[in-house]
C-alpha cells in the first residue's frame, strides 16, 4: 500500500438491508483500502452477495452509507452511472452480451461512456483479451465460448473501462471444475498488478493466496475478519470454525 492510501476507497458504514422478513445485511461496516484485496465468504444466504452488490448499488441499502472513492453511492447528488464506471463487476453467470462479438463486448462501454475512439478501444480490448488468454476469439459471439472463456471475457470487459476497483460475485461458482483454474489465474494476475479487489468466493485456495483480508459473514453480519493466516490458522468464531471444517 502506498502512502496516499490512508483513506479507504470503499467505506461501508452500518449498512442494513431487508428483503421482507429477511435481514440480508445486519449493521455491516467495512473499509477497503486502495490496492487491498478483500475476500468475502460465508454460507449461502449470508448476505455476502448483497453486500457486494450494494457497493455499486445493484442493491440499495435500507439504512447506512456506502462511500466509494469519496462519493456516496446512494446520494441523489452523485451520478451512479459515473460511479459505476470506476467499479468493474464480474457476475456468477458471466452476463456477456450475446448479440455482440467478444471484441464488441469489450469496446461498447469505453466507446460510449468514455468516448474512446474505436481504434484505441479495439487495440486496448485486444490487449486485454491477450492478457486473459483468448485473443484468438475476438470476433466470435459469446455462445461459441466455454464457460471459463466467457468468464475471462467478462473480466476483460470490466477491465476495459479501466475501473479503480473490481468486484467479483462468485465468479467461479457456475463453472465446471476444470475451468475454475483458468479464471482464478486471471484474478491472481490482476491482484498481483495491484488492483483493488473485493471478491465473494468459495475458493479458499485463492483467498489464502491473494487476500489481504478475509471476511466471514453469516445471517447478514460480519462475524470475523482477519488476515488469511489467522483466518484459517486460528478462527475464533464457532460459526467460522464450523464453516471451515465443512468446506476445507
Amino acid at each position: 500500500m502506498t502512502a496516499a492510501s490512508a483513506e479507504p476507497i470503499i467505506s461501508i458504514r452500518n449498512a442494513w438491508k431487508f428483503f421482507g422478513e429477511l435481514t440480508a445485511l445486519n449493521d455491516v461496516s467495512l473499509d477497503v483500502m486502495p490496492g487491498e484485496k478483500v475476500v468475502i465468504c460465508g454460507p449461502s444466504g449470508s448476505g455476502k452477495s448483497t453486500l457486494l452488490r450494494s457497493i455499486n448499488r445493484l442493491e440499495t441499502v435500507d439504512k447506512g452509507s456506502i462511500i466509494v472513492d469519496g462519493l456516496d453511492v446512494n446520494s441523489p447528488d452523485n451520478d451512479i452511472n459515473k460511479i459505476r464506471q470506476e467499479l468493474g463487476m464480474v457476475f456468477q453467470s458471466f452476463n456477456l452480451f450475446p448479440h455482440k462479438t467478444v471484441l464488441q463486448n469489450l469496446t461498447m462501454a469505453p466507446m460510449r461512456l468514455r468516448k474512446t475512439p474505436r481504434a484505441e478501444a479495439e487495440s486496448r480490448a485486444l490487449e486485454l483479451l491477450k492478457k486473459v488468454g483468448i485473443s484468438d476469439k475476438a470476433n466470435v459471439f459469446p455462445a461459441m465460448l466455454s464457460g471459463g472463456q466467457q468468464q475471462r471475457v467478462a473480466i476483460a470487459r470490466a477491465l476495459a473501462m479501466n475501473p479503480k476497483i473490481m468486484l467479483f460475485d462468485e465468479p467461479t461458482s457456475a463453472l465446471d471444475p476444470e475451468m475454475i483454474g483458468e479464471v482464478l489465474d486471471v484474478m491472481v494476475t490482476l491482484a498481483r498488478e495491484g488492483m483493488t479487489m473485493v471478491c465473494v468466493t468459495h475458493e479458499m485456495g485463492f483467498a489464502r493466496e491473494v487476500a489481504d483480508r478475509i471476511i466471514f459473514m453469516d445471517h447478514g453480519q460480519v462475524l470475523e475478519e482477519n488476515a488469511p493466516q489467522d483466518f484459517f490458522g486460528a478462527p475464533k468464531h464457532p460459526r467460522l470454525q464450523k464453516f471451515l471444517n465443512q468446506i476445507l
Binding site: A158, M161, A174
Partner: protein
C-alpha cells in the same frame, strides 16, 4: 451453464402459422397451402377466364389499398406498442397504470366496434376521412397487442443483462436500446410478424366504412354480376396467398436474426 434461455417463443394471436426457419422438408403445411392456392388460382383463371380472369383484373386497386392500410397501420402501431410495452414495464405507478388501462380497454372492445366508433360516433364531432379512420382504429387496436408483445419480449431477456450493462455505467435508456431491445427483437419479431398478418386480414373490416380494399372491390363486383361464389373464392385465394407470402417472409427474417447463436 449457459447464460440464459433466449429462445422464448411468444404465441399471441390469430395471425398465421409462421413456418419454422429450421424446417428443411419440402412438403409442409405451408408448401401445400401455397402450391394449392396458386394452382387453384391459375387453373380457374385459365379454364374459366370469364369471371375469374376478369375478377383478377378488377381487384388490384383493392389489393393496393389493403396493403396501404396494413403498412401504414403497422408503422403506427409499432411505436405505440413500444411505448405501451415500456409503460407496462415501468416502475412508475402512474405510467404503468395508464399503459395497462389502455391495453385493457382496447382489448375489451371488438375492432369493428372501434372502427365504427372512430368513423361514425366520433364523426359527430370531427369528420375523419374513411382511410384515416381505418388507420387510426387499426393502429390503436394493434398498438395494444404490440404492447403486450414488446412487454413479453423485453421481459424474456434475463435480469443479468440489465445488471451487466448498468454495472458498466450505462444508464437505463442506453441499457434498453443497446442491450435489451436488440436481443428482445428476435423474440418479438415472430409475434410482430404474426400481428402484421392478422392485421392484414383484419383490414377486411374497413370495407364496411367504404374503404375500397380487396373485399370492398369484390363486393362491388359481386353485386353487379351476382357471381358470389366466384368472387369470394377468388378473394379467399388472394388473401391466402398474401398471408402465406408474408408468413414465409417473417420466417426468413427470423432465421436471419439468429446469427449470434452457436453455429
Amino acid at each position: 451453464m449457459t447464460t440464459e434461455p433466449q429462445n422464448v417463443r411468444i404465441v399471441i394471436t390469430d395471425g398465421a402459422i409462421i413456418p419454422d426457419p429450421k424446417e428443411r422438408r419440402i412438403i409442409t403445411a405451408w408448401s401445400i397451402s401455397f402450391v394449392g392456392a396458386l394452382a387453384a388460382l391459375v387453373y380457374l383463371c385459365t379454364s374459366r377466364p370469364d369471371p375469374y380472369w376478369r375478377l383478377l383484373q378488377f381487384l388490384p386497386d383493392g389489393i393496393a389499398v389493403t396493403f396501404k392500410v396494413t403498412v401504414l397501420s403497422i408503422l403506427c402501431s409499432i411505436p405505440i406498442g413500444l411505448v405501451t410495452g415500456l409503460g407496462r414495464l415501468s416502475r412508475n405507478r402512474l405510467i404503468n397504470l395508464v399503459a395497462s388501462t389502455y391495453v385493457e380497454v382496447v382489448r375489451g372492445i371488438p375492432l369493428l366496434v372501434q372502427l365504427f366508433y372512430i368513423y361514425y360516433a366520433l364523426g359527430r364531432f370531427l369528420k375523419v376521412p374513411d382511410l384515416l379512420a381505418a388507420i387510426i382504429a387499426l393502429s390503436v387496436c394493434y398498438g395494444a397487442y404490440m404492447g403486450e408483445v414488446f412487454r413479453a419480449g423485453i421481459d424474456s431477456i434475463s435480469k443479468g443483462q440489465t445488471e451487466a450493462a448498468r454495472s458498466l455505467g450505462f444508464n437505463r435508456a442506453e441499457t434498453m436500446f443497446m442491450v435489451i431491445l436488440p436481443q428482445a427483437w428476435r423474440t418479438i419479431l415472430p409475434p410482430v410478424g404474426n400481428e402484421f398478418i392478422a392485421m392484414l386480414k383484419d383490414t377486411s373490416l374497413v370495407s364496411i366504412i367504404a374503404v375500397a380494399d380487396i373485399l370492398r372491390r369484390g363486393r362491388e363486383f359481386a353485386s353487379e354480376s351476382f357471381l358470389y361464389f366466384e368472387t369470394y373464392t377468388m378473394i379467399a385465394l388472394i388473401y391466402l396467398l398474401i398471408t402465406l407470402f408474408l408468413s414465409k417472409g417473417v420466417s426468413i427474417m427470423e432465421s436471419r436474426l439468429n446469427y449470434y447463436d452457436r453455429r
